[in-house]
């Protein structure tokens, strides 16, 4: 165990895999000479050289597609989206090629690649630079989609992602790059398809992923100290494949659930979670599953507006009170 930042843990996983496996390369904008806009890849071009750390022009579709071609011949490219907001330009390559190649080639082709970068808002980047795309990409069969929230998970899931035989959409919590946490030493891969019980509790199940998980920890503490409410927190972390069992088991215990997400409500991860719970824990639910999502507006720039656009403690506590039938 060592204490590391999310950034360091992420980098450590990629470096160890690149040292272990020559077929792993990286492509992206300013990941080499510049050092990476979020310094995730800082120094790697000196360590691995320009044939493995490939600086690209501003052509997300082109270099993502090229990486798919590399993967089809047995390489294991890691593509950096400087931020996921730019991935719409690559969505045709991701959705039409990466996700479907194994299928429409009748299993003749594999696409072992990782597409990674910061996702989510919170630093006033406004409308075009603020998206939370778990549901957007998670909708498509053939893709795997993960959203780690802790340094330990970002390292362990990146190890799994690079070794995965299928394309992985790796959505990093950009706002958490500098947060610290305990990280197991060595080769501790975290498998996909397993949610994490981040806090055990008995009274209500709080479900989230990415930076909202940290928000839930604060709220759970408040609820415990101020109201004696013992909340269980589930960090989804793997969006596709999705772990239904862990959520359902928790709700069968607590009989109440609140799902929190930064992304917009309509046709989202929270919609699916609510649908799953009512399907599989119908008789155990003492209240409707509550959803707390981002406001139905493009992200605004002004600080006060941006804060109001994302789920806040007040809203979440109100939702908890509703499922507990308590007055706020």
């Amino acid at each position: 165990m060592a204490v590391m930042t999310y950034r360091e843990a992420l980098k450590a996983a990629m470096v160890s895999e690149m040292e272990r496996d020559e077929s792993v390369v990286m492509l992206g904008e300013d990941i080499g000479v510049y050092g990476g806009t979020h310094l995730i890849t800082d120094g790697l071009i000196d360590k691995f050289g320009p044939k493995r750390i490939i600086d690209t022009p501003i052509a997300e579709g082109g270099f993502t597609g090229a990486a798919i071609g590399m993967a089809m011949l047995g390489m294991r490219p890691i593509v950096e989206m400087m931020t996921w907001n730019f991935s719409f330009q690559a969505s045709d390559q991701i959705i039409q090629n990466a996700a479907k190649l194994r299928y429409f080639s009748g299993g003749q082709v594999s696409v072992p690649m990782v597409i990674r970068g910061p996702n989510g808002g919170g630093v006033q980047l406004s409308a075009q630079h603020t998206h939370s795309l778990e549901g957007f990409y998670g909708h498509f069969p053939g893709l795997k989609v993960v959203s780690p929230a802790t340094p330990a998970d970002v390292k362990g899931m990146m190890l799994s992602a690079i070794r995965d035989p299928d394309p992985v959409i790796f959505l990093e919590a950009g706002a958490l790059y500098s947060t610290k946490g305990e990280v197991p030493d060595g080769d501790e891969a975290v498998p996909f398809g397993q949610a994490r019980v981040a806090r055990e509790g008995t009274d209500v199940t709080l479900i989230a992923y990415g930076r909202q998980v940290n928000l839930l920890h604060r709220i759970a503490d408040t609820l415990a100290t101020d109201e004696g409410v013992n909340a269980e927190i589930i960090d989804l972390r793997s969006i596709r494949p999705f772990d239904e069992a862990t959520i359902v088991a928790s709700v069968k215990k607590t009989n109440r659930a609140v799902v929190v997400q930064e992304q917009w409500r309509w046709f989202s991860v929270a919609s699916e979670v609510a649908a799953i719970i009512q399907e599989q824990a119908f008789d155990d639910l003492d209240a409707p599953v509550e959803r707390v999502s981002g406001e139905e507006v493009p992200a605004p720039y002004a600080r006060n507006l941006e804060l109001a656009a994302f789920p806040g403690e007040r809203q979440i506590i109100d939702a908890v009170h509703r499922v507990l039938y308590r007055r706020t």
Binding site: E29, D30, V33, Y34, G35, T37, D55, P57, I58, A59, G61, G62, N85, F86, F88, Q89, V123, Q124, L125, S126, A127, Q128, H129, R265, W266, S293, E295, E296, V297, P298, P300, Y301, A302, R303, N304, L305, A308, A309
Partner: protein
Amino acid sequence: MATTQGTGKKRRQAGSNGTGANGTGSEEEQAAGQGSRQDSGQAEGQSLDQGRLMALYRQMVGVRLFEEACQRGFRRGKIGGYLHVYIGQEAVALGFLDAFRPGDRAITAYRDHAHALILGSEPKAVMAELYGKGTGLVGGKGGSMHLFDVANGLMGGYGIVGGHIPLGVGMAYAQRYQGSENMVQLYLGDGSMHNGAFHEAANLAGLWGRDGMNPCLFIIENNQYGMGTSVERSTAMTDLGAKFDSYAIEHERVDGMDVVAVIECAHRVAQQVRVTGKPYAVEAMTYRLVPHGAGDFLERYRTKDEIAEWRERDPVGILERRVLEAGSVEDDLAATRAEAKAAVEEAVAFADESPEPDISTLRTDVYADPADVRG
């Protein structure tokens, strides 16, 4: 000129099915609402007199000081998000916008403060936008990357590289379709030219221009880098203007550090674009004298020497020398700088004192009808 008449005919046809009439009408209204700029009528080759040079100096220094104030505001935490300033590139927008006429449209990427200020946006409103205030140019909703001033012809401020280029080409089509004599100034970075959106849009411009339906002036702000990647490291063919040959779009290169050279070019090519309804491209050679943005503190991708060399060609310095040659004295310049400084300080004070946007505006401007915002 055959092309001209050809275009004229085409426009009359458009007019004849009614759109011309409509179009022109609405265009004129807009024009009316745009006192802020008048084309200087600068003719080809004609040199600029002292008064004009001094006026340009006032504007350029105004932009430079404004951008420096933005950098301070960012360091002091008053400005959030991304901040991209135009320091070193001022002669490009200042020169081309000298040929801007009422009813014309300008569109650019996120490095957009200069374009707004030169087109006549209130420095107070621009700074207030950067400060995220309700008095901002777009009410605090967009910030540095999304300046819009439609009344003055600025159609934005966009954050996705390449993404705004097709919009500009479509606007040029609309201008002709609506029967106006106006044009679009479409600003784009060197780095955006390797993006598919550029290719698709430029090809449409060439195609539609063949019928005189695309008065679009592509202005390449070639500041040598896309963030930390030089032109040489972005493409094996570094003559960016020549890339327009693929679309049958004429092009030339201009010294983007010398506003007088830019102005000469701007009026000449703008006139051609207006008359022919065909697109044209100018590669303005310039340089970003400061980091790409706030995150760019290392600048490993370029040397101090390179920056120093380009500083010799700082557009403000070049214009200063020209103003002095034209007969002004250092005191005039100092006085002008002082005025500009005062104006910027006023803008900063206004931004600082302005209130945050009213929280009720969070859900406005999503749809025309607020009732469509649900959930």
